[in-house]
Amino acid sequence: AQTVTQSQPEMSVQEAETVTLSCTYDTSESDYYLFWYKQPPSRQMILVIRQEAYKQQNATENRFSVNFQKAAKSFSLKISDSQLGDAAMYFCAYKMNYGGATNKLIFGTGTLLAVQP
């Protein structure tokens, strides 16, 4: 079974600084997606960034980038120039890229990010 582990329950960063959130996962599949979702206090889960496992190039979305290490099964999120609005719970998630009966997301336990002014 696939699992996702986030070992940092809480992180803190100063405004305008850079922070890295860690995620490891376990799977025997070779074709899958990895995601970082942001969940603010309002609870609406928002997709931050995604990575296809077959792509070697790390994904980047503006201030957000990932470090995807497929062999090590590691998928960290780097937030540059942190802003107060980045404060939220961040979830790492996995999804098989398989046209089968289910396309469910498997989530980690989350990292609560605080941004200090």
Binding site: V4, R43, Q44, M45, E52, T102, K104, L105, F107, T109
Partner: protein, 114 residues
């Protein structure tokens, strides 16, 4: 355009009551998912629909949980004889197709069983 909506946003039920949680997915989205998020945890998969067909219900924790999507759009998650351990936020998500990578989430329904 409108996103995924869920109602009610908050529900308090006495132990043993039945509850029904509603999800309105994005119009035209084929796939619909239900997740359960306990306090301080990540969401956990409950069930998955493709149109009106329930293709995966492996995450439903007991036979007290039942979900339906009779016309392939709105979905209802029903919990019978609620227990305290059912207290959680129930999230609904939809995606355009079964293979779409992105799921769009609703704001969730917070269920508290007293």
């Amino acid at each position: 355009g409108a996103g995924v909506s869920q109602s009610p946003r908050y529900k308090v039920a006495k132990r043993g009551q039945d509850v029904a949680l509603r999800c309105d997915p994005i119009s035209g989205h084929v796939s619909l998912f239900w997740y359960q998020q306990a306090l301080g945890q990540g969401p956990e998969f409950l069930t998955y629909f493709q149109n009106e067909a329930q293709l995966d219900k492996s995450g439903l924790p007991s036979d007290r949980f039942f979900a339906e999507r009779p016309e392939g759009s709105v979905s209802t998650l029903k919990i019978q004889r609620t227990q305290q351990e059912d207290s959680a936020v129930y999230l609904c998500a939809s995606s355009l197709t079964g293979d779409s990578y992105e799921q769009y989430f609703g704001p969730g329904t917070r269920l508290t069983v007293t």
